[in-house]
């Protein structure tokens, strides 16, 4: 009952979870059920009308998923969260609450290639128009603001090159424009960066990466910072106006500083349907318990590997914000003092062919399209994740033809360096 403040590692293990009321099970049970029995007709009506807290159907909420949601909300310092099927699903659900057809959102040009595709093509068909800005040029965000702008979207540590975004500077632009700042915190995880502390209004994650951490389960999550006033200016009718889906309820008025998370649940997840499997939620929860330990090891290994590559004669350049010579090192010291993440790129003097050759010779690094696994991973973005971009866009997003991306795992760093050495040297 004291108001003593537990630390991050304690929250990573405990937040959201307590022994099961029925069985006493200490690990969070996997509630692998589609639906939940009502006490009586009035209880059912109360739940459907959002008047009572409780479970109805796993597409709207599930007790295993709820533990995951509260845990990530606690780690990020948000008021509430909503878990969904993937990071991509999180982005759809967030923007559905904010944009009407014909509206715009500003996005940093340096993003995960899949997000660039989603924003450019899929969202265009919904009438949601992305306007690109350069995270290295804050004024480009200001210039992109129009009366139809409804949100700004950035990555805290940006894919693929691990560059660090100046969240506070961009949050100032968002505040001035009267729109929420959405930060994809996937590559940092809240262990390295808590975007809400720097002005983010909404945080999204692909849980598939460092939070789950073991490369075994897809998932995504949306965290509501509870900081944005949705009623101001009538720009966000999903939050501020009576909703016909719920007989005229106004979500901001009813749910206050976690109304956005509720909107994502009852207007987004309920109607679009990308629910997270409770089994995946359990796997991701188990992963999160060791997040602080893993993340530190990931970062320490990444720094050692980056230093090795920077000194290798076959390597033209290394883009890792944890290196003192890197252009993002100052931002890394400010935003991610514990480590600059474990995803970064380097370029080879031998260009495209050398990249393909390296990937084929590596024995420990796995060639695949994911990041944030316990295992070390490698990919050649120009021929894979970013292959659908034209050459100019590849270079702009940091995925030029000579670039190789690593996601450094938690193996022994000596073994990782030896593997790179043999693949580069041969």
């Amino acid at each position: 009952m004291s108001d003593r403040l537990p630390g991050f590692s304690t929250l990573a293990v405990h937040a959201g979870a307590q022994p099961d009321p029925t069985t006493g099970a200490r690990a969070t049970p996997i509630y692998q059920t589609t639906s939940f029995v009502f006490n009586d007709a009035d209880h059912a009506a109360s739940l459907f009308g959002l008047q009572a807290f409780g479970n109805i159907y796993t597409r709207i909420g599930n007790p295993t998923n709820a533990v995951l949601e509260e845990r990530v909300a606690a780690l990020e310092g948000g008021t509430a969260a909503l878990a969904v099927a993937s990071g991509h699903a999180a982005q759809v659900v967030v923007l559905q609450q904010l944009l009407q057809p014909g509206d715009e959102f500003i996005a940093a040009r340096k993003l995960y290639g899949g997000s660039i595709n989603q924003f450019t093509h899929a969202f265009k068909s919904f009438g949601w128009n992305v306007v690109w800005a350069d995270p290295d040029d804050i004024a480009s965000f200001e210039r992109a603001v129009t009366p139809r702008t409804k949100a700004i979207f950035i990555e805290s540590i940006a894919n693929p090159a691990g560059s660090i975004t100046d969240i506070e500077a961009i949050s100032t632009v968002a505040r001035k424009a009267g729109v929420p700042l959405i930060v994809d915190n996937t590559l940092a995880s809240p262990y390295l960066i808590r975007p809400i502390d720097h002005g983010a209004d909404i945080v999204v994650h692909s849980l598939t990466k460092f939070l789950g951490g073991h490369g075994n389960s897809l998932g995504g999550i949306i965290v509501d910072a509870g900081t944005f006033d949705w009623s101001a200016g009538g720009k966000y009718p999903m939050l501020s106006e009576p909703r016909p889906e719920y007989h005229g309820i106004r979500l901001q008025e009813t749910f206050g500083n976690f109304a956005f998370a509720i909107a994502c649940r009852v207007l987004g997840l309920r109607d679009l349907g990308p629910a997270l499997s409770p089994f995946n939620a359990f796997m991701i929860l188990t992963g999160i318990e060791t997040l602080p330990l893993r993340m530190q090891k990931h970062c320490d290994n990444a720094k050692a590997v980056a230093e090795f590559l920077a000194g290798h004669p076959a390597v033209a350049s290394v883009s890792y914000a944890g290196l003192p010579s890197d252009k993002y090192n100052q931002l890394a010291r400010k935003y991610a003092p514990k480590g600059a993440g474990a995803v970064f790129t380097f370029s080879l003097k031998g260009g495209y062919d050398a990249g393909v050759n390296l990937v084929s010779k590596l024995q420990l690094f796995s060639h695949l399209a994911n990041v944030g696994d316990t295992r070390s991973l490698v990919i050649h973005p120009a021929s894979t994740t970013h292959s659908q971009l034209d050459d100019a866009a590849k270079v702009k997003s940091g995925a030029g033809p000579d670039v190789v991306r690593l996601s450094v795992g938690i193996e022994d760093k000596e073994d990782l360096i030896a593997d790179l050495e043999q693949a580069l040297g041969a």
């Binding site: 003593r4 937040a15 649940r265």
Partner: protein, 194 residues
Amino acid sequence: MNHDAYPDNYIRGILNSVKSIAMVGASPVNVRPSYFAFKYLAQRGYDMIPINPGHVGKELLGKPFVASLSDLGRPVDMIDIFRNSSHIMPVIEEALTLDPLPKVIWMQLGARDDAAAAKAESVGIKVVMNRCPKIEYGRLSSEISWMGVNSRTLSSKRAPVPTQGMRLSLNRTSVGGGDTAASDRAAKNKSEQS
């Protein structure tokens, strides 16, 4: 009391001690926040009294509407005000004429009047502003966790299976590592601007 951020023990103490709550502005319309809160608090065992002059002669979930605080005719522990900030002061002034005085005056989400709060606090009444007792009860009991809300509490104890009409324990460990300092700051900025 610092009304920008309440310690959990302050809110916990209020919700654990009050028994009767008069709700000013209680609505019979079942999508209004006051209806939600009235129903929930009644289910959690509080003695609820709806106050709304427009509905005298009718009942809200079996409780007869009362026209005003002056018409209560019996002591209440807490007054929960569902009115906009600009309509708070007259309610406080009326509340201060009651004998005995209420122990707590609570203003709903979005409602804040610092002058009215100071007036009530000067005679020993505890004040909460811009909060919802349903949300706070759900948060401190962790019942609200079903909705993915950060309860900002931890417990390694096995909770009882919740049943209808049951009072839930609010005595969980409060945490600040996952606090909503950002949300409190935003609310403070908003109230300073208005």
